[in-house]
């Protein structure tokens, strides 16, 4: 039962353009969503998050959008930079589950100079 899905295993964009990474979830009990970035040989690093009571959260070049009715969230990176090339994981957590995060499979973003 894959509760968090990232259907695109990879994405390639040109430097300066927008990167859009998508994530779908099935569990209605999730009420907090996070994006993590992971470089090779490192652990996941928190990037940005959104609560289920919001539909948008912005932090610099990164914006996360949440569509609760569609159980869908997306991460927008504008403008994309070569240093953004990494694996991006969507994760979800819910009230009362001791902070456990359920991760998607990840999307490998490549930003070409």
């Amino acid at each position: 039962d894959q509760q968090v899905k990232q259907n695109s295993p990879s994405l390639s964009v040109q430097e300066g353009r927008i990167s859009i990474l998508n994530c779908d979830y099935t569990n209605s009990m999730f009420d907090y969503f996070l994006w993590y970035k992971k470089y090779p040989a490192e652990g996941p690093t928190f990037l940005i998050s959104i609560s289920s009571i919001k539909d948008k959260n912005e932090d610099g070049r990164f914006t996360v959008f949440l569509n609760k009715s569609a159980k869908h969230l997306s991460l927008h990176i504008v403008p994309s930079q070569p240093g953004d090339s990494a694996v991006y994981f969507c994760a979800a957590s819910g009230y009362g589950n001791a902070g456990k995060s359920t991760f998607g499979d990840g999307t490998t973003l490549t930003v070409k100079p």
């Binding site: 993590y36 490192e42 652990g43 996941p44 609560s51 819910g94 001791a98 456990k100 991760f103």
Partner: protein, 115 residues
Amino acid sequence: EPEVTQTPSHQVTQMGQEVILRCVPISNHLYFYWYRQILGQKVEFLVSFYNNEISEKSEIFDDQFSVERPDGSNFTLKIRSTKLEDSAMYFCASSVSGIAKNIQYFGAGTRLSVL
């Protein structure tokens, strides 16, 4: 900047042997977690730990696994009798609290290779 540290970075062991993976969480954090990532697959939750006891564990975390906080700084994951399928990256994480919105900080991981 405070960080979660994990040792060793790479552990090679023979099938059936016991291994202990070590983690030093961020000092003021109270919740601790272990995750694993089999090569090419997703990051999977194993266990969460608070106040010296397990808060939640996944189906993966069977009787072969145990966690311990032996002193004020270390948090360990023990695999009693390793199997080939235990080969994976094991990530330790910690957070200030256990509420959903709390950010988890991850270590760089220990690559476990079971031969």
